[in-house]
């Protein structure tokens, strides 16, 4: 409750939460909200590249499809990708961090070295290479993003575990004979939850951004998916005449990422007292 109250005082974070909530609602209700839900795959060649109007608030694209509808329908895809990628990365990364931080054998050391290696290669390049190597599609793009995002969770859980391992209550648990999995998953993991949530929130925004780049470069969603990145790629040949074609999907990406980042920053300020001071 204390966290909620502090969060409510942080205006930018609150704004971010509202944005995220709206986008989540839009994603859930997309088929109902979109004025032309059939425009995922339909084409109306007579309506090609029409500028914004009352009938089509964001204009129409090269196949005469309503961009407003496609932006709304695209929210679902973007959020599903982000949730899947961040969720899977968390499931892989957090246990590895626990093991790496708790044990002192060479296996644990090896996990951390591999983690550092993954962090040394720019995430986008690794994701691009992996997506291409596994033959590009939305599924492989998600897999590639997961493979590049887990080390971030391993790093933070590792740091927390190392810190907690020295705590008195862990000593006590060891003395009364609690098993290592019990200590790790029932006692250390719950103490890592707040940094994990902060990382996951920021990761959501980041994943939406990188997934859009993959879509833009043709290594993510495939036509006729209403993907935001893909739409911007398709719009390039119709510039400068059809400015609305690229502008609105880009604004959708921007708003989504902005929302998650604002919430993430707000949460971080609450969780990390060292940073809170400078607010």
């Amino acid at each position: 409750m204390l966290i909620l109250r502090k969060f409510a005082k942080d205006r930018p974070a609150l704004l971010g939460a509202v944005v995220v909530l709206v986008i989540v609602l839009v994603a859930i209700l997309a088929p109902v909200l979109a004025p032309y839900p059939g425009d995922v795959s339909a084409s109306h060649l007579l309506l090609r590249l029409k500028p914004p109007s009352w009938a089509h608030p964001f204009g129409t694209d090269n196949l005469g499809r309503d961009i407003f509808s496609r932006v709304i329908l695209g929210a679902r895809g973007a959020l599903v990708v982000a949730v899947m990628v961040v969720g899977l990365a968390m499931l892989i990364g957090a246990p590895l961090g626990l093991i790496g931080g708790y044990y002192q054998r060479w296996g644990a050391e090896a996990i951390m070295r591999v983690t550092d290696l993954f962090l040394a290669v720019p995430q986008l390049i690794l994701a691009l290479a992996l997506a291409q190597l596994m033959s590009p599609s939305l599924k492989t793009a998600m897999l590639a993003l997961t493979l590049t995002y887990w080390p971030f969770f391993t790093r933070i859980v590792y740091a927390e575990t190392r810190r907690l391992k020295a705590a008195l209550f862990i000593d006590a648990l060891q003395c009364i004979g609690a098993s290592a999995p019990r200590i790790l998953f029932l006692h250390i993991l719950p103490n890592c939850v707040s940094p994990i949530i902060v990382r996951a929130t920021i990761g959501m925004g980041f994943t939406v951004l990188v997934a859009a780049v993959l879509g833009f470069l043709g290594m993510g969603a495939t036509p006729p998916d209403p993907d935001w990145g893909l739409a911007i790629a398709e719009s390039r040949q119709y510039l400068p005449d059809a400015w609305w074609f690229s502008t609105f999907p880009g604004l959708a990406i921007f708003l989504t990422v902005l929302g998650f980042n604002l919430v993430g920053d707000g949460l971080r300020d609450i969780v990390d007292p060292r940073l809170r001071r400078s607010r």
Binding site: A120, I125, V213, N261
Partner: protein, 336 residues
């Protein structure tokens, strides 16, 4: 100081070796059949077998790795399947273009980011601060590829103020290549027209690329300055009547930029990733554009060489960052 640099380079070697192992196995193990991918979609089984033999894919993987290590030691990265030229030569010719772009973006980030962050901290919680906070969050939330396209749309297509793509206009003859940096080469050759043209071509890509760096540097400078202003020596200097300007720009800032400089080292990764996107959109003939082409054509030799290059650049930048730390705050030398 020399001892420190030597030690840091020695420490970088195992991690670079690790990077070599990781990329080699990822790139060689993940695809089902690299030979089939290289031979193309319509290749006959005989053609695929020929590619496999040519590239040595028929040998055991550990032998392939040892051969690869030997090649890397001689800086021989083989021939690109995409450009049919030596990968090392391609990289050598393209690296200056990327460095020119990233250094320009980083400079903009530093030159604007540090003063902006300081101004925001001085006006804590008043409008310059709030404005900067909004801008810095927005700066990292905007998709670079989209921002680049919108800039092209506005400044190149609608207003026609700046060139749309490339490094130099097609009507101009490029100055003789000495450093590979067009801005420097054109000045050496005394070609003011080429210099101005190259500068104009640099504006939009740099603006796109510097956005994230600018936001991050401004943010960390602000946090650092806010932190320093609460320290005792600041209160003391104030009590002694030191003018605000001198205090902030001379003493507080110097004690605050360490965190921002650490970020610069970390930023380099995102700058390189950004270069991949920006170079693709602006047809900038650098490493990023090359990387995308290599990835799209499954040119695994180029992919291996480029990831290694990024690892080396990353290590060097981080050593440099530590050196700059030491220069700003001599106390840090003792810890290094």
């Amino acid at each position: 100081m020399l001892g420190f640099i030597a030690r840091r380079f020695l420490l970088a070697i195992p991690s670079l070796f690790g990077l070599l192992v990781l990329t080699f196995f990822l790139i060689r193990v993940v695809p089902a059949d690299p030979a089939a991918a290289l031979a193309g979609e319509n290749a006959t089984p005989a053609q695929i077998a020929e590619v496999r033999r040519q590239y040595g894919f028929d040998r055991p993987i550990y032998q392939q790795f040892i051969i690869y290590l030997g090649q890397v030691a001689r800086l021989d990265f083989g021939e690109s399947a995409y450009s049919h030229r030596s990968v090392a030569l391609d990289i050598k010719q393209r690296l200056p273009a990327t460095l020119e772009l990233t250094i320009a973006a980083l400079l903009i980030g530093i030159v604007l980011g540090i003063p902006l962050g300081t101004i925001a901290a001085v006006h804590h919680n008043r409008w310059p601060d709030i404005l900067l906070r909004i801008l810095s969050v927005a700066g990292v939330a905007v998709a670079a590829f989209w921002f680049a396209i919108e800039l092209q749309l506005l400044f190149a297509m609608e207003l026609d103020w700046l060139p749309l793509r490339g490094r130099l206009g097609s009507t101009l003859i490029a100055p003789p290549t000495l450093t590979g940096f067009l801005l420097i080469d054109s000045l050496i050759a005394g070609r003011l027209d080429a210099f101005v043209d190259a500068l104009r071509h640099l504006v939009l890509p740099t603006a796109t690329l510097s956005l994230g760096a600018l936001a991050t540097i401004a943010r960390f400078t602000r946090a650092g300055v806010l932190d320093t202003m609460q320290r005792d020596f600041v209160t003391y200097a104030r009590a002694q009547g030191m003018p605000g300007r001198t205090l902030i720009w001379k003493f507080v800032l110097k004690n605050s930029v360490v965190a921002a400089i650490t970020q610069i080292g970390l930023l380099f990764g995102s700058l390189i990733a950004g270069a991949v996107v920006v170079e693709t959109i602006f047809d900038w003939p650098g490493i990023g554009f090359y990387t995308v082409q290599a990835i799209l054509t499954a040119d695994y030799k180029v992919m291996l060489a480029v990831t290694l290059l990024i690892g080396v650049v990353y290590a060097v930048v981080n050593i440099l960052v530590d050196l700059i730390h030491g220069l700003i705050d001599p106390r840090l030398w003792e810890q290094l």
